[in-house]
């Protein structure tokens, strides 16, 4: 197995674990954690392709990963703010109990 295949397989595994977490957990915060894991797996893919692909001096993969980290940070802040705001209305972070559009 080449090094690139190893990194890609680790990224695929972390992506699948994050997807499983986002699809199976009840707690809204843990669903957000699963989404963060999926974003991180994508970043690992970008950097692995940058490291083992042609023209690493163009820095494309690293730039993609750095901007993706910044966007993920913004997403985490807004997502957790939404969870706290919903918790204030329905007194729970359980996604199965958030079944009304009307507060």
């Amino acid at each position: 197995m080449t090094p690139l295949a190893g990194y890609l397989l680790v990224a695929a595994l972390v992506f699948a674990i994050g997807l499983a977490g986002a699809l199976t957990r009840r707690n809204a915060i843990l669903v957000l954690i699963g989404i963060e894991l999926m974003l991180n797996a994508a970043n690992l893919n970008l950097i692995a392709f940058w490291r083992f692909g042609p023209h690493p001096e163009a820095l494309t993969g690293v730039m993609f990963a750095v901007f993706s980290i910044a966007v993920a940070a913004a997403e985490a802040a807004v997502g957790l703010g939404l969870v706290i705001s919903i918790y204030r209305h329905v007194r729970t972070a359980d996604l199965d109990k958030m079944n009304r559009m009307k507060g």
Binding site: A12, V14, L23, I33, G34, G53, A74
Partner: protein, 166 residues
């Protein structure tokens, strides 16, 4: 494939698995921090110093703290009486397994077709800074605007409404 890679991969995957399976939410936050640290070390192993340290600063320094704050503010550490997994967990698990099988099959089928660079790229943080200030300056400005908007938006969304005494 070095032994360091296998240790870091095992650390990352174990942290991610613990984060989605543990019952106590605070333990999940700690486990996901381990997974983020493992990914940062994998970035460093791939000679991407700037991305690795940005990962440590942003994920371990900020996102993990935010997650812990959100857990404590929503009393998320109390486990629900119905269990921690949703009723449709089997379908979710099947979908995730199918996605992993597809991705793994695609990687193993196609990866030998890609030419592999064996030499480590001689990229310093100075080069990254130069690129950010010249070729990538417009995306940088847009990300700065996005972060400001997200910060203001998060504060407004989570702020107490007037007259809300709860």
């Amino acid at each position: 494939m070095t032994i360091v890679f296998w240790i870091l991969a095992a650390l990352t995957v174990a942290g991610a698995l613990a984060a989605v399976t543990l019952r106590n939410t605070v333990h999940c936050a700690l486990a996901v921090t381990t997974a983020f640290a493992g990914l940062a070390l994998l970035f460093l192993q791939l000679d991407a110093q700037f991305a690795g340290f940005a990962q440590i600063l942003v994920y371990i320094g900020a996102v993990a703290i935010l997650v812990v704050f959100a857990i404590l503010l929503t009393r998320g550490s109390e486990t629900s009486e119905h269990g921690v997994f949703s009723p449709t967990w089997l379908a979710g698990l099947c979908i995730a397994a199918a996605v992993f099988a597809l991705l793994g099959w695609a990687v193993l089928r196609s990866v030998n077709a890609i030419p592999q660079q064996v030499m480590a790229p001689a990229i310093t943080v100075k080069d990254v800074g130069n690129a950010l200030m010249t070729r990538y300056v417009l995306p940088l400005e847009i990300v700065a605007l996005l972060l400001t908007a997200a910060m203001v938006g998060a504060v407004i969304v989570a702020m107490h409404e007037k007259g809300d005494v709860k």
